[in-house]
């Protein structure tokens, strides 16, 4: 939250959820609704929904206590920032099973495939952003 003052409030919808699997579906719904409001096509809405959900799944797997999903309508599209809070520092070297690792890689692959750009922005201790962008329907 604490969006910079220059950012017009009318363009931002933010959702804050606990970093737990049971709240991911709410984020999917909210993000779909935002994308739908912004006139994205059904297929594009599905893309954004899955990509954001994968970012949340990834965030939940890393630990942390809450996640903000910040949806911003920008002139050329929709920018969604998934911000992790309360990540364990230093990040524990957990040993995922081979299947978990495969699923995690699929998730990151899907985000990259479904969105037009993806950037990982490290922040202060225990925080990290994943910033995704989907171009406006043409």
């Amino acid at each position: 939250m604490n969006a910079p003052a220059h950012r017009a409030a009318e363009d931002v919808v933010e959702l804050r959820i606990p970093a737990k699997a049971e709240w991911v579906s709410i984020a999917r719904l909210a993000v779909s609704a935002v994308a739908s409001r912004l006139q994205f096509s059904i297929e594009e809405i599905e893309d954004v929904k899955l990509a954001v959900a994968e970012a949340l799944v990834h965030a939940i797997a890393r630990g942390g206590d809450r996640i903000d999903v910040i949806c911003e309508s920008v002139p050329d599209g929709l920018r969604i920032r998934v911000r992790n809070f309360g990540l364990p520092t230093p990040e524990p070297v957990n040993e995922p099973t081979a299947d978990e690792a495969a699923a995690g890689n699929l998730g990151i692959f899907l985000i990259r495939a479904l969105m037009d750009s993806v950037e990982h922005e490290p922040r202060g201790a225990g925080e990290a952003d994943l910033v995704m962008f989907k171009r406006s329907p043409s």
């Binding site: 699997a21 579906s25 978990e100």
Partner: protein, 134 residues
């Protein structure tokens, strides 16, 4: 970069209804020593453990030929895909296989872009999926 473009139109109502925020899993015996797993709802990080248990139980009982029917699944994420992949690996160790029934264009697209279409048999209907098991 959207790799695969879905052209079929389905309604927003179909895709966007939020309930059940859960999956239903139903297992039926089929011809030979195969079983059909009917799924409906959303297979995501919250619900996929239920699917993992169901598939695990079947395999523990010696069922290695599975048809998993995704026709009524509206949504699947990477954890759901991971469960399917894990199941496939286990049955393959016993010479078995997993065929999927999938007609939802958005879900087909996910199998396409991830390349999973090459490791699962994916069919338009249950009969075809069962026939291809053997």
């Amino acid at each position: 970069m959207t790799l695969v473009r879905v052209t079929t139109r389905y309604t927003l109502t179909q895709m966007n209804r939020s309930e059940p925020l859960d999956i239903k899993v139903n297992v039926r015996e089929a011809k030979g020593d195969s079983s059909v797993v009917d799924l409906s709802g959303e297979i995501d990080v919250y619900t996929s453990p239920k699917l993992k248990d169901a598939i695990g139980n079947l395999i523990d009982r010696g069922v290695y030929n599975l048809v998993i029917n995704l026709e009524k699944v509206r949504y699947i994420d990477s954890t759901g895909l991971g469960v399917l992949i894990g199941g496939l690996k286990r049955v393959r160790e016993h010479g078995g296989s997993v065929n999927l029934v999938c007609t939802n264009p958005q879900i087909k697209k996910i199998f396409d872009i991830t390349g999973l279409v090459m490791i699962f048999g994916i069919f338009d209907n249950e009969d075809a999926a069962l026939r291809a098991l053997v």
